[in-house]
Symmetry: D2
Subunit: 101 residues, 4 copies
């Protein structure tokens, strides 16, 4: 799909550990939800956890998107040519999926 430089090719490496840490916590939330269902915790309490997990996921998505715009889209625009257009189209589609999900 694209040529890949040796590392940090997608520009978000400098926050990689932070994203991994947040995603591990989200994975833990998914396990916690299973435990709650297993133990038949009160439905409203489970829903509260689902909302917290959804917010955590959205926050990861917004962070990744910001990095994508800052690096990938800005670099493509600075380079000129039609790639910027393609990158923006792609980003807009991703934003639409996030807004609608």
């Amino acid at each position: 799909m694209e040529t890949i430089a040796l590392d940090s090719q997608h520009g978000y490496i400098h926050n990689k550990d932070d994203y991994l840490r947040r995603l591990r916590r989200i994975e833990g939330q998914a396990r916690g939800l299973q435990r709650m269902v297993e133990e038949e915790k009160y439905c409203i309490d489970i829903l509260t956890q689902v909302s917290a997990m959804t917010k955590a996921l959205q926050s990861v998505a917004l962070g990744l998107l910001d990095e994508h715009l800052s690096h990938c889209v800005v670099q493509a625009a600075a380079a000129g040519g039609s790639e910027a257009e393609e990158k923006v189209r792609e980003a807009s589609e991703a934003i639409a999926r996030l807004v609608r999900s």
Copy 2:
């Protein structure tokens, strides 16, 4: 509406395995996202997975909420008294959190 076993106090036991299966899949999606970040996959592809995972979580939440309304709220209303009011207030707050998350 259904026979209720001793420890299925919150009324969603009849779908418990289905919820557990879906939550395990969501946990797997969280692990998949860590792998994608670890391997520095393309940001837009990661965002696509985040949207899919968010939708899966929302779908679990909507299912649990439907069960809660069907059982807990309807039972409280049928029993009369002020508990129904409290159950509706609680459900409305959970719905607001879902809509806003």
Copy 3:
């Protein structure tokens, strides 16, 4: 729970003026957005207004839904029979549309 006048068949009459006032304000926001586009205001400022308007609309929806659960669903459940089930199904579908919109 409240006395119901002859034509307030859907149970939210006691807040009707409040809803009308909020919806008039939302209508005003829609006109304000047209003015902003007409005058080519800065895109980000227009988006801020769209978010405010969306939040106002959601808040109306959550209020109406709460009233619906409090009155319509609770009354159907108290009356017994299959109508409660139908009312809950309807409410769950409306909630799903709100969460996904």
Copy 4:
């Protein structure tokens, strides 16, 4: 805040009529909702209209955002300097508001 060229300074003029038409329709939906509340239509039917109106608004927002990224952000990036960074920050904040509203 910024120097303004004589026209189409914010880059979305070529779709202006389309946005105005959509916003007029949204304004009409707000009036329709008032009529429904006035006539005490069934709550679920009102909620269906609110969801449709929210979707229409979101669609306007996503369109405006796409134009903003295509023009404003890409131009700032092509021009180089720190303005691109500022434009991306602003866009990311607008996206976060949309996702969370």
